[in-house]
Amino acid sequence: MRQILNIAHYEIAHILRDKILLLIVFIVPLFYAVLFGIIYIAGTLQHVPLGIVDLDHSVESREIVSTFENTPNFKVIPEVNDYAGLEAGMKNGAIRAGVVIPEDYSQKLSQHQLTEILTVYDGSNMIYGLNSRKYLQQVLNTFSAGQTAAYLGGLGMTKKEITNVMDTVSFSMQVWYNPTFSYTTFIFMGLVVMILHQVGFMSISLTVTREKEQNSWIQFVSTAVPSWKIFVGKAIPYFIANFFNYGLLLWFSARFIDVKIGGSVALILLLGLLFNIIIVSLGFVISLYAPNSLQITRYLMIMSVPLFVISGYTWPSTHIPEVLNKIAQSMPYTWMANGFRLVTLKDWGFADMSMTLAVLAGMAVLTSFFALTFSKCRKPLVQTGLVVNETTSYPRKR
């Protein structure tokens, strides 16, 4: 025990002395969470700039315009008033959606002829595209209901009769788990888990390469301390720091970013625990076999986008080819991010989560086995080729 604590103490001293490592361990996670939090704070896309081309200029067409003016989902841009303006505005991004009312709109309406309203939206950004499309549908549903009511009124029906007809079959739509369609609830926690993933790996994966670069790894290898104690001692500080960050970021997200985090606290803690074990032990193993610190830093950083995209967290895994799903399933991030969402949003219990928990536990056992039993054969730093980080900035006593 004493040996382990000694090593842990030594590692903590390292973290405290290496200012940048200290930043990475304690400041960077919160910094990123705050940054992404600011970006996604609005949660839903509102006030989509809309151009309305009213070629009719009648009372009836004014009604359509005012329907759009009265929804917070759109912001009508008055400068756009002809088709050329609409096209130009869509092209330069001044507007993201448009409505065109034909010139004979009121005339056809009064003559009981079919008339057509054109709606357009910008597909070059899918978030604008899909939401505008949804909003347009909503407004048009309301508007056409109003039209029908007016028409029936014209036939001499009373208000009650009209409601009776129109509500013969009505639809009630509920959105479960994320009723406001919040993008924050959707994507933000996936980014937070990615931050914890990357920062966790970044910090521990330098622990052995640093010793090698300072020629002190030999001290560990040659003393009579078993491998598992070296690993445990070195891992403890990072393990605690990672868990602290996990709690901190969850608290921050729930308190300030208004992310929905429900579900069983025990499960959330268990997920965090397993994920943390995997990161710490896998990071340690990487550090043992990696050529040097610079390469680790580089490779780790560029993994974040592919891992995120392939995990099925945003683009649903039902729409990803099976081969890629298999690859994704071998990554801890996939299980952690999706599992976290299922617990916090859908309130999955232990029984529902058994698969996720079993896989994560399996990964934790496997990675910690390799970390605990690493061979103490000395593998020197790779010296062939270019050693770019010859001059390290690790603080030394002068």
Partner: protein, 384 residues
């Protein structure tokens, strides 16, 4: 004179090639990324949204509704659970995204012109599903509601033509411009690959100044009497050349092999990319002149490069970010690049629009290079 420049360039190219880790990343990384992303988004659209229908009525009227839903665009009925509880379980487990419940006595109520309500549930956890599902449901319910209404009116003795007109006097036509099928692959594959490319380029350019210090060759170079300006100019030239060289296969695969849309001309695209490469390289150089070793420069380069895609507003729009944050986002060259790429690939906004972007990227390059020179100067003084 030129000979000296060529010698510096040759040396730099040699160094970059010998940095094996960097070489592998630069040669294979972005292309592997592009292939991976193209694979992930190979379905292109979120259609076939798994839907479950509970028909508690089993009448001919309710079966008509079921048929209407089966034929709805983007919905795919995968299950017909018997009870509401079963449906709830399906949605809870994620096996169905949309759930529809047709109440008991539906057929009877419709016949007797009593009001009846069909319940629709949508799982909102994944927005890629949820927005599409909502639109699909809104469209189909409008049609179904109109059909039911027309029937009621006719039953009340109103002329069929009039009844129809009451519901269908206005037709709504929708058009998605620039990306008519709302294809996710068009939107994201190239952007993600370019995001990886800009990360690698940041890594490479972070070696600009610090590389020399790291090699311990700094003194040698100083002794050789080559001017700093000349040295770094030629080094940077090589870096930018390499950065541009790597982007070419990405563009080739994206536009020629995968046939992603490119609205603008190739020359415009390449010119714009070149301007960004210079601006990005200047930012990397600034990082490398501030920090004392390659790891730290790489780390801080990445601190900027990693979130820059999210900040750039390529996916979650800039306009939806807080007002005060938007000017900050525009400080990064990446924001200009990703915004510009979106316009170039989908819209071809014309020279006037892009020249503004080019000008800003150019100014950024001048600013960051100057700051880098200043920082390097100051550090050198501190070393003495």
């Amino acid at each position: 004179m030129i000979k000296q420049s060529l010698a510096i360039m040759k040396r730099e190219l040699f160094y970059m090639w010998r940095d094996k880790g960097m070489r592998n990343i630069m040669l294979f990384g972005p292309l592997l990324g592009l292939l991976l992303f193209a694979g992930v988004y190979s379905y292109q659209r979120v259609g076939d949204i798994p839907t479950a229908i509970v028909d508690l009525d089993h009448s001919s009227a309710s079966r008509q509704v079921v048929m209407g839903l089966e034929n709805a665009k983007d919905l795919k009925v995968v299950a017909y659970p018997e009870t509401y509880d079963e449906l709830e379980k399906l949605i809870h487990k994620g096996d169905a995204i949309v759930g529809i419940v047709i109440p008991e006595n539906y057929g009877k109520d419709v016949d007797l012109r009593r009001q009846t309500k069909i319940a629709v549930m949508i799982d909102g956890t994944n927005m890629a599903y949820a927005t599409n599902a909502t639109t699909a449901v809104l469209t189909v319910t409008r049609t179904l509601g109109a059909e039911a209404g027309i029937k009621t009116l006719i039953a009340q003795g109103i002329e069929p033509d009039q009844a129809k007109e009451a519901y269908q006097s206005i037709e709504f036509r929708e058009e998605a411009w620039f990306n008519p099928t709302l294809n996710y692959a068009y939107f994201l594959v190239l952007a993600f690959a370019l995001n990886m490319w800009q990360q690698f380029s940041t890594l490479a350019s972070c070696m600009n100044v610090v590389g020399e210090k790291g090699f311990g060759s700094w003194i040698q170079i100083k002794a050789s009497g080559i001017s700093r300006l000349k040295l770094f100019f030629n080094k940077s030239l090589v870096h930018i050349f390499v950065i541009m060289l790597i982007v070419l296969p990405i563009y080739f695969f994206a536009f020629v092999v995968f046939k992603l849309p490119l609205a603008s001309s190739w020359s415009m695209l390449l010119l714009f990319t070149f301007a960004f490469a210079v601006a990005l390289h200047s930012l990397g150089t600034l990082m490398s002149s501030i920090f004392s070793n390659a790891i730290n420069a790489s780390r801080f380069g990445m601190v900027v490069a990693l979130p820059s895609f999210v900040i750039s507003g390529f996916t979650w729009p800039l306009e939806a970010m807080p007002q005060w944050f938007q000017p900050i986002a525009w400080i990064l060259p990446q924001t200009w690049f990703f915004q510009g790429i979106n316009y170039l690939s989908f819209k071809n906004p014309g020279w006037e629009f892009i020249s503004h972007y080019l000008l800003i990227l150019g100014l950024m390059a001048v600013l960051f290079y100057s700051l880098a020179a200043l920082a390097a100067r100051l550090r050198e003084k501190a070393f003495r």
